[in-house]
Every structure is written in structure tokens, then in C-alpha cells.
């Protein structure tokens, strides 16, 4: 990519986002296929998180204006999601009978789900300053 979005730290983000895309997709698929009725809200949330990780990975790999915008949207939604679900899962654990990627601010995944969107947004910001306006 000419704007270097997927170089350097960007490549690390692509790698980790890719892993999360695979992990979250697999986990949500297994949960929905085998025990959906147990905790439909948790499992649907897992699926939504999975889609966001996939789209974020694509955006970061593609770069350019569109990839950047895509990644920006995903990282923002992700940060809001992990903060909202994290807070809710602490305040009202009864609404989340089973874990999602974002429960407890991503404690089940070493808090990476909380760190990743922040890193992503910082990286996009830095890249945007370095790249030409369009």
C-alpha cells in the first residue's frame, strides 16, 4: 500500500486482528451451532464482534482511503463495544450468562480486545497525519 497502513506496527495489527477474526469467528460458530438457546445475547454479540474483527482486518490490509475509513469505523465500534459490554458484564452479570470476547473488558483474552482498538485508532491517526489528505 502506498500509504503504509499495513507496514510496521500496522503489520503487527493486521496479524493480531487476523488472529482475533479467526478466534472470534470459530468461537461464535461453535457457540451458535451447539448451544444457541443457552445464552443467545452473548453468542450473537460474539458473532458481531467476529464480523467487526474480520472487517477491521480487511480495512487494515487494504489501506488507502477506503481501507482506512473501514478500519476507523471498526476500531471505533470495537472500542465502544468492549467498553459497553465490559461495563454491563460487570454491573449486570446476569444478562451475560456466558462469556463473550468483550466480557469484563476482554479479560478472557488478556485484555487485548480493549488494547487493540486503542492501538488501532492511534495507528490510524498517526498514519492519517503522515498520508496525503486524500
Amino acid at each position: 500500500m502506498p500509504d503504509g497502513l499495513n507496514r510496521g506496527l500496522g503489520r503487527v495489527l493486521v496479524f493480531v486482528y487476523g488472529l482475533f477474526a479467526v478466534a472470534a469467528t470459530s468461537r461464535a460458530s461453535v457457540q451458535i451451532a451447539t448451544k444457541f438457546t443457552e445464552a443467545p445475547v452473548s453468542y450473537l454479540l460474539s458473532a458481531v464482534a467476529a464480523v467487526i474483527y474480520i472487517v477491521a482486518t480487511v480495512g487494515l490490509v487494504r489501506g488507502g482511503t477506503h481501507g482506512r475509513r473501514l478500519a476507523l469505523a471498526c476500531c471505533s465500534v470495537e472500542l465502544l463495544g468492549v467498553l459497553a459490554v465490559g461495563t454491563l458484564s460487570v454491573l449486570a452479570p446476569q444478562d451475560f450468562p456466558d462469556q463473550t470476547v468483550w466480557s469484563g473488558f476482554g479479560e478472557g483474552y488478556g485484555y487485548l480486545p480493549l488494547v487493540l482498538p486503542v492501538l488501532g485508532l492511534l495507528w490510524l491517526r498517526r498514519g492519517a497525519a503522515a498520508a496525503p489528505a486524500n
Binding site: 510496521g8 503489520r11 503487527v12 488472529l19
Partner: protein, 118 residues
């Protein structure tokens, strides 16, 4: 699941993680030692999986089959993936990629042990 091979995989991965993360902190691109490390870790991981499959045929298998297979596939592909992406990034961030990948391996081994056994 073989405790010995699980321990060897964990120790080898953690060693590789330390080497790679220190290299990244010292602004070093991944070197031959790191790439050889990913090959070693991948080989041990495949051995661990092979032994698990043999035991599985022998009667004792994973409690949660789908989950185990998912983790197993990730375990077998992750070092190779880190090697490929690390090759594409000949900077300190390449070392960081290999380090992060190597840190995830012990977690996978741990989770596989948790879903193993009747």
C-alpha cells in the same frame, strides 16, 4: 494429551517469545535464530498434536471435540503464519509479530489441556 510434549511446546514458545520480544525492544529485525525458533516450535506443536491424535484413536479423546480441533489447527498454523508475516516485515515489528505469536502458543496448549479428557 502428552504432558511432556505440552510442557516442551510451552517452554519452547516462551523462550522464542523472550528472544523475539527482546529483539523487538532492541530495534532488531527477526534473525535466523527467530525463524529457526518458529520452525522448532511448529515441529514440537505438530508432535504434540500427532501424539494427541494417537491417544484419541486409543480411546481417550477431547471432551469438546470441535473446540479441541479448532485450537489444534490454530496451534499447527500459528508459528508458520508468524514466520510468513515476520518475513514480510524485516523491522523490529517483525520480531514483535513473532514474539506475540509465540506468546499465544502456551495459551492454546493450556486451553487444549482443559478441553481434553473424559
Amino acid at each position: 494429551m502428552s504432558d511432556v510434549l505440552a510442557t516442551v511446546t510451552t517452554v519452547a514458545s516462551l523462550l522464542l517469545a523472550v528472544i523475539a520480544l527482546v529483539a523487538s525492544a532492541r530495534d532488531r529485525a527477526p534473525d535466523r535464530v527467530q525463524f529457526a525458533g518458529t520452525v522448532v516450535v511448529n515441529a514440537v506443536a505438530v508432535l504434540l498434536l500427532g501424539a494427541a491424535v494417537v491417544t484419541w484413536f486409543g480411546g481417550t479423546g477431547p471432551r469438546e471435540v470441535t473446540t479441541f480441533v479448532g485450537y489444534g489447527l490454530t496451534l499447527a498454523l500459528l508459528p508458520a503464519g508468524a514466520w510468513i508475516v515476520g518475513k514480510m516485515e524485516p523491522t523490529r515489528f517483525g520480531s514483535l509479530i513473532i514474539g506475540v505469536g509465540a506468546l499465544i502458543m502456551p495459551v492454546l496448549v493450556l486451553r487444549m489441556g482443559q478441553v481434553w479428557g473424559a
